[in-house]
Symmetry: C2
Subunit: 547 residues, 2 copies
Amino acid sequence: MNALNFNHGLMKHSSFCNTNNPLDPEEFRRQGHMIIDFLADYYLNIEKYPVLSQVEPGYLRKRLPESTPYNPESIETILKDVQDHILPGVTHWQSPSYFAYFPSSGSIAGFLGEMLSTGFNVVGFNWISSPAATELESIVMDWLGEMLQLPKSFLFSGNGGGVLQGTTCEAILCTLVAARDQMLLRIGSQNVGKLVVYGSDQTHCSLQKAARIAGINPSNFRAIKTSKRASFSLSPDSLRSAICKDIDAGLIPLFLCATVGTTSTTAIDPLGSLSDVAKDYGLWLHVDAAYAGSVCICPEFRHVIDGVEGANSFSLNAHKWFLTTLDCCCLWVKDPRALIKSLSTNPEYLKNKATDSRQVVDYKDWQLTLSRRFRSLKLWFVLRSYGVAKLRDFLRSHVNMAKLFEGFVTSDKRFEIVVPRSFAVVCFRVLSPGMGKGASNANGTTTNGHTNGYTNGVNGHVNGHANGKGDDHDHNYMKEASTNELNRKLLESINKSGLVFMTHSIVGGVYVIRFAVGATLVEEKHVITAWKVVQEHANAILISENN
Amino acid sequence: MNALNFNHGLMKHSSFCNTNNPLDPEEFRRQGHMIIDFLADYYLNIEKYPVLSQVEPGYLRKRLPESTPYNPESIETILKDVQDHILPGVTHWQSPSYFAYFPSSGSIAGFLGEMLSTGFNVVGFNWISSPAATELESIVMDWLGEMLQLPKSFLFSGNGGGVLQGTTCEAILCTLVAARDQMLLRIGSQNVGKLVVYGSDQTHCSLQKAARIAGINPSNFRAIKTSKRASFSLSPDSLRSAICKDIDAGLIPLFLCATVGTTSTTAIDPLGSLSDVAKDYGLWLHVDAAYAGSVCICPEFRHVIDGVEGANSFSLNAHKWFLTTLDCCCLWVKDPRALIKSLSTNPEYLKNKATDSRQVVDYKDWQLTLSRRFRSLKLWFVLRSYGVAKLRDFLRSHVNMAKLFEGFVTSDKRFEIVVPRSFAVVCFRVLSPGMGKGASNANGTTTNGHTNGYTNGVNGHVNGHANGKGDDHDHNYMKEASTNELNRKLLESINKSGLVFMTHSIVGGVYVIRFAVGATLVEEKHVITAWKVVQEHANAILISENN
């Protein structure tokens, strides 16, 4: 024990005294309370900011110093800079007038869970590194799986299991790699160039990216064409044809990603019949329900994932429309061993008795990375703070607000709903002057041919026989292009106002404005105002178009 | 405008009234303050908990309900459950007596930045989705790059640039995929099976995993053997031989990951000469300085990354030893276009004028995933709250505390330092009774042959001619095995106490206990106590071994 008398005078100036420690509890308390007040005030005043940041590229470099300060700065100084320099460059995803992309619905419970996770700051790569992090994750994934009525085969109790990933991109890449390795074991790794991955032209871009990362030959990625007639859902027949064609060409079908709630229009791929096709040809079927999965906790929406029992894996983003802060992607798999086989590592420095006992889950082997945050805390907080009842209320309230907006659109003859609404996203557009409702027609199939639109414009051409050929067809095409341009202008004008933020997509050649209800703070009044903003900007643009 | 009079009676029961909103500002304030106090108290009392959680596998399922509650629960109830049921299962990475793995050094500033990021909850995939998120990230990456004296070619000002990833695993996978695609463009994708990836047997397991994910043939992964003599650093000569052998075999060298501060022993690969080899054969050189990169902001340590100018990419984890909460991996690349070429996506629903202008960075194209958190806030808070001066103090204090511990070990003849200390990790072990200091010898090269150890044991065999052949060799081997077992027992006993937490590795056949100083709250007294604990448990085990 005399070693303890070892002379350590060299320490004198080098260790922090307690009150100077970067994690001093009382200083933590003081500064922590300041930030809570800062954020509470931010939410109180959030409607005062332009929803879409209006700064110009490069704005921040002009405002901040060129290098790290040598000496410490006070929290007061830093917070003032957040207010003065950061907030102008923030696009306010939590604003009640945020209707862009998909929501990123924060909540008090999600925030609190994230704070605890940040405060504990554990690195939960394996069970022993923080048993609660692993066990709570398995538990909440079973809870949520049951709320969604997922088949038992996806739950731990049914020898499947769930894991929290950061994003859907990771979930897809993990499952794709598992599928790939399973297949290569059968066919030999020299055949990797023959593997084919399938989605639709509406599938999220992360599928193609994951395929590229996983070394799938880029020419073996199939984005199967969808049509407006089928509401942009993936046709099982088209899939089957594509698969047969590939097999005939000597290729090997590997992986299908079906989507419930596509990004552009929230289209729903038919899981039941797609899984039949997948089964027939031995494909791994992943279901990406990033957006719409959450709403399946409401019985009236559960049918959209009917057929999920035929899938190998299923994922949804709790950070989109489930009150859980970014990032939190819930992935369930039927066969965790397939993931583990591809993704496990076992270096000496991580070996431990619990792992050796095989009685525990080591989530590092279910994901791309080693380190992982204690994400389950925030999801657990959300599930408990709101309960099944309020979570359903919350989701339904958004669907109803989307219905409200949809009603506004349909009651104004200058506008049309481009794709039927399924959840809380409304895809609409303004029609060119003189264009009838329903005249939009990217696939050249039918138009209703009525002139029930806005007909007082100089371009107020009666569009009675739009489904003609030749000149009429060209004319239609040009009409569509100018309508797209009109909507592009309208959206830009709306977003420039800072009053609301919406985004767009193009489906079947038609530029649509997406109105996605989902911000936690949104109320009817914001939807009503948003519609007013749309109308006012449409008025202005249509008038200027006519002059 | 009459559309606004649209009957929306259906809304009556479905939208949240304000005070019931999951993001109500005043309720946020109330609950937020509660959590701050909860965490401040947690830090105050953190020494009361066993550092390594002592629960048994499955403990939590027994304590929690089987499903999500139907009705909301109060924050008070949930926090009580955190205290009663979660904390027992937490391994306390923030404890001052945490010396395991690598540190996960939280701080007030890091926490505050993370809170703001969580509160804003923006999804910063591209510039427009929150300009401040992108611009602040570019700025702090330049700041930190300058602190590290990285060559200008890694900074935005020098046409390179930095990006915040979640973990090193992601950083390696991104750069590997970029390197792979660059190479395949030259040699054709049909040659993917010929690509070879190099590291050492000390390189972090994430390299091998990344190679597997990226579709590199598993038989083309080279973990080049290191030796104790060279302090487990990667020998440029060995690398060159391996490369030549592969080229002779018709394979194509692709990627080298050099490490500054390996996981087992914080070994330092010589960047200068390795980059010469990489250049000779056209390999992409990535430098993984996950742990030790941070300390390079101290001029006296900067030399360990000398030669980094020859690398293509460089990464460090600010969430390890730089006061920034998990996750925050800083990756710099010389040629961002290579990353972008492999990882970019451009779906219609993300198109925007800023992107089209090419005046902005869209970080989604620099990483695996689309969605990304506003991570730069926490790093910016850390840099400003502490400044260069305190950050250096902080790192140096840990190095000095490691020196202190090292002194304890060397002054007790029953122990030895297995690998020379480079930073704040001490790799040590207890010697078997009768084993001389320095007798440890996994590679069968030399032993010092003195009996200056602990010689009062029943196994107090004088080990004077240990570098012999035959019987002596076998005897040595068995001695090593039993010493390893002794240290395994010692570590298990230490960690069972709950007083401290350390972990192990095996290098060159020798089981080492790793004492990693890095918890933010650590002070000299904890290091002194840790040594006491080690001695006490060693006493007990050595006595029982002798009986």
